[in-house]
Amino acid sequence: MPPLGDSMSNKQSEVWITGIGLVSSLGEGLDDHWSQMASGKTPAPSVDTEDQAPYPVHPIVDFDFAAQIPKRSDQRQMGKWQHLGTYAAGLALDDAGISNNPDLLAATNMIVAAGGGERDLEVDADIMEKIAGVDEYGPILNEALNTELRPTLFLAQLSNLMAGNISIVHGVTDSSRTFMGEESAGVTALQTAAAQIRHGQGDIFLVGGAYIAERADMTMLMEFGHTLWQGEHDSVWSRKDTDGGMIMGSAGVFLILESRQHAESRGVKPYARVDGIVSDRCTRQPGAAREVADKLFDQLNSQIPGGTLPVLSGCCGVQPQLVEEYEFLANLRERGIEPAVRGLTTILGNTLEAQLPLSFALASLAISRGRFFDPFDKTGFETAFSGIPEHILLSTWGHWRGECLALIGKPDVPLREGE
């Protein structure tokens, strides 16, 4: 059996991207990103080397969450991660013209790709200090937890409460699911939403997630696996000949995915079309991830014309996947495809659950503006692309598990026959 995935068949409904809400370390909104990423020069990433030192991170820009979360009572119920997601979701709903339309909001389905909510790290630090060195610390811990934890904090910790807050603040009330788990949560969220639309299990979906890199509890988790890059920021492809390592990024990204018919009936223009999302997993024996990617590419191949193909890679930077993804992309030449790769993580870092949604947003941006991004690094791996992009290949492999390829297309380019 082939790997599971959402791939195009002409009989089914086309999936359009009709709304984008985007905040990252580079800025807020599509124009802000476009002006920095397609200015004719290599974009300058925003890097903080102190907050999580010795690990560089891409910090989230300031965003005025009150503009999307007007009630103070709502604001108080969330931490920064939920603020960011709820804010970006609001931007996407505005962009697609869904906000303030109760009938449409009640018919909008939601899939959130979530990580863990936020802990109060100061409270944790105090408690650790208190119980360190105590043999049977249970009763002291109980007392400390009883006095230090707050109810709102618990709700901010619950993964599904980003979705809960989006329902409460923005009124999205059809189905609501939260998928958990790093890059693959973003992958399965988008894949499921697209498959549901193609099969008439919903006309319109709000899909996305958020990640904030400036979180020491996440730095700890990633360092359990010694996966982080230390020292100066460097482009992801420059890290290829080293032991590798991730630089974490920050982003809140939500997309509106909609069936073509539904979008047309309400007179909405698409940014781009989803031509396929395929994924699989392996246990990352050497070479296995590349093998999976090769098979995934075969599944998308019928929709990909030869010649130069723009590629947006979410390459995480962890070895040996970094080398394997590099080789996979370089070897597309053997299939008669000249890849024009952009390593998105060079300028925005790895945003985990938000990684594929972020790639979707930026690929849609490039398709809709009729131009691809300028190279993000100077290693020479990223070659120029001067044409009008009709398809953009997205490559998103998890730092630990899960490989995904997706294809975003220009809506007025006909789908190819022969599936």
Binding site: M128, T192, G402
Partner: protein
């Protein structure tokens, strides 16, 4: 009575061919069913960790099946392995270590607990540092690859995907207390789309630790009737004062009717329909008019092509919190109308406790067992039913009755509501 492999909307019919369950009442279908129908409680005083100073000191902890040092995600993985092994064995599908379909796992977020935090804190490398600076330093200096594998958010589903050889990327999901039902719903949808002939749907939750108890106590959600653990969970009773946390897991093997018949599988029941509706009112409470959960129930019946007369009994969400039980009654009264008077409704949580992320899957499993046996497990501890809840709650004693169709409700914090409908085969 159609023998077609498609339902009233032309979609592939989805059936259940394997069930596995582990709860505070025991391991496996047989032991659980025996205790459920005998009206036993699995709630005990907590012995996993000291409860001194905690307002709630009781839970339905499942600990007899492990002698490992407790670690939350590992425990959730182990519970899921037990229920999934039982379900796959019953379905006799695929080959060992190779399940022919995707995996949907409902679980609590994998989190480092105090035990792990203090283990890392105690290392040498960062001993002059404080808080997370110290933890990060020690994480970087030590070998904590086992923690890395266990505490990734996707770790529970990933471990299970390795164990059972499911296809593709597993989906690890949460809709709070509706999670288990969502896993069944996702599997059903994948089969209806024709993507797969089979799906493995698991709910698992083995995460009871001191911090979880404190968190839920802060929301005043838990019963504090510590003196009578077995009597503390009393859904629909006048004196109910909160839910009792519990652990457990259940697995359903779902298949398309066509595929199951083609391989001669024994069909345990049909997933007739599912309904969902998110609430906008409050993070821990339903809209006062119940409109979201009414809608969720109504949509499940529409999806199943059914009317209230078709529902023979209801497996309640029935958490034993003052709020839930009142709202569930209000919603059922609105959605089922006069038929509610003829529809028995029982809460498994009166015996098992509330298994949170696993509850929807466990109650789906018990709904199917109810159909198979023609016996409705009771709502125990119903000494004085809430006079404002006018339902037949099957108080204290099981009821023998032909059951063709069961509705199972799951309502989560965060306003995520799911209703599933199962029936006997054929229909």
């Amino acid at each position: 009575m159609s023998q077609s492999a498609r339902d009233h909307l032309g979609r592939p019919i989805v059936v259940v061919t394997g069930i596995g369950i582990v709860t505070s009442l025991g391991q496996g279908k047989e032991e659980n069913w025996r205790n459920l129908t005998a009206g036993k409680s699995g709630i005990r005083r907590i012995s996993r960790f000291p409860t001194e100073g905690l307002r709630t000191q009781i839970a339905g902890i499942v600990d007899w099946n492990s002698d490992e040092r407790y670690c939350a995600p590992r425990h959730s993985i182990n519970l899921a392995k037990q229920s999934a092994s039982e379900a796959i064995e019953q379905a006799a599908i695929g080959s060992p270590g190779s399940f022919p379909g995707p995996l949907f796992v409902a679980n609590s977020p994998a989190e480092t607990n105090w035990d792990q935090r203090m283990t890392v804190y105690g290392d040498e490398a960062g001993k002059n540092l404080r808080g997370y600076e110290r933890l990060v330093k020690n994480a970087a200096a030590g070998d904590y690859s086992r923690y890395f594998r266990l505490f990734q958010f996707a770790s529970i589903a990933d471990n299970l995907a390795d164990e059972f050889g499911t296809r593709g990327q597993p989906v690890s999901l949460t809709t709070a207390c509706a999670s288990g039902a969502t896993s069944v719903q996702l599997g059903t949808e994948a089969i209806r789309r024709g993507e797969t002939d089979a799906a493995l749907c698991i709910g698992t939750d083995g995460e009871i630790c001191e911090e979880m108890v404190v968190r839920f106590n802060l929301l005043s959600a838990l019963s504090t009737q510590n003196d009578d653990p077995q009597g503390a969970s009393k859904p629909f009773s006048k004196s109910r004062d909160g839910f009792v946390m519990a652990e457990g897991s259940a697995t359903l093997v779902l298949e398309s009717y066509a595929a199951a018949r083609a391989r001669g599988a024994r069909i345990l029941g049909v997933v007739r329909g599912a309904g969902e509706r998110a609430d906008t009112f409050h993070r821990t409470r339903s809209k006062p008019d119940g409109s979201a959960i009414i809608d969720c129930i109504t949509r499940a019946m529409a999806d199943a092509g059914m009317t209230p007369e078709d529902i023979d009994c209801i497996n309640a969400h029935g958490t034993s919190t003052p709020e839930n039980d009142k709202m569930e009654y209000l919603a059922l009264a609105a959605a089922l109308g006069e038929e509610l008077a003829n529809t028995p409704i029982s809460s498994n949580k009166s015996m098992i406790g509330h298994t949170l992320s696993a509850a929807g899957a466990i109650e789906a499993a018990i709904s199917l067992m109810t159909i198979g046996a023609g016996v409705i497990p009771p709502t125990i501890n119903c000494i004085e039913q809430d006079p404002n809840i006018l339902m037949d709650v099957v108080p204290n004693e099981k009821r023998v009755q032909d059951i063709n169709t069961v509705m199972s409700n799951s309502f989560g914090f965060g306003g995520q509501n799911v209703c599933l409908i199962f029936s006997a085969e054929p229909y």
